[in-house]
Symmetry: C2
Subunit: 186 residues, 2 copies
Amino acid sequence: MELLSFFDSVYKITPRARESLSSLITEKEYSKIEIIQQIGSRCRTVYIVKRGIARIFYHKDGLDITEHFAFSNDLIVRAESLFTGEPTPKGIQAIENTTVYAIDAVSLFALYDQHHDIERLFRLLFEREHVNSIKRLESLQFQSAKDRYLDLLKNTDYIQKIPLKHIASYLGITQVSLSRIRSEIR
Amino acid sequence: MELLSFFDSVYKITPRARESLSSLITEKEYSKIEIIQQIGSRCRTVYIVKRGIARIFYHKDGLDITEHFAFSNDLIVRAESLFTGEPTPKGIQAIENTTVYAIDAVSLFALYDQHHDIERLFRLLFEREHVNSIKRLESLQFQSAKDRYLDLLKNTDYIQKIPLKHIASYLGITQVSLSRIRSEIR
DNA sequence: CGAGGCCTTGACCGCGGTCAATGCCCGTGG
DNA sequence: CCACGGGCATTGACCGCGGTCAAGGCCTCG
């Protein structure tokens, strides 16, 4: 499976661990706009995007706000719920027709006790997410919306597939402002 | 040691692991304004504040920007360097006379191989930091500076000990704007 | 007592916000 | 097949939050 070789590139686990882990992995398909996880639910599944695009979103003052985009091989979890067990006001949605790998979190955490190396693999995977959050913090704290948009253009393929309204809220601005920024650029 | 009982409250480790771990822990004292870790260094030490206040900061366009504050029992690491091995443009400074516990990261990571439960303990500690980063992301993405300041006032004791200029940059605004916000409030 | 750091205040400006009108694309039904 | 309606993006008019620059007050420390 492609996913397992991606895992190998992060941290190699023993064949036995690999076997236990792979038995937990299922694939699911979602069509454009479909909800993968409802707002208000608890995060009990670790998703990894196989193909397509997904986003984490929530509602604030009646607005739909995108917090995160995920592409191929990206994890997509609502960490503030997965790590605490609390429900989260955030949901997960497919932006295009999307295939994800899904791993049940309870079973996964149970495997941690039997296979030290699985815990390590996922520790490393989540550490990457942690670093991503910090980078995003930096950009939100002291860059203009325009700079953030230019960065996004530079670093993210497939942006053209994402509706501008989602990009706008991800950048922390309205789609009206994003539209003006875009018109300035060329 | 107080630190070990704090660790116990997060995750209990075996007596043997506890012994190995405690041999890595040292205490260091820094006076107000003193630099704990230089800008541009690699993060090879896990610090936990025992007493006092520390901050993570960096320079952007000649300005001094505070990214994080740490109080008693808070971890203080530059995760984007600790987890990647890359140097970081961020430094650590004591805001007051501060005592920290210091754990050498290389030795700690080596212990992970011998003691599964130490890896788990620190995984859980870092997960908390991860969740904090995400909460902060939310507030930076879609709250006004005033709301962020009010939250900070509510959730953080000892703010009165932190110079306003640091609070301002932490909120993503200038100290001039913070000053106006403060004057509005009462 | 003088110097420098920190905080406040005033004048002025620009980025990004709201509200509203318009254009465009696309799916659905008569 | 065209007409209509709804969602998405753009554009204009207007406003307010937070930015810069500069002056002034207040501590602290040598």
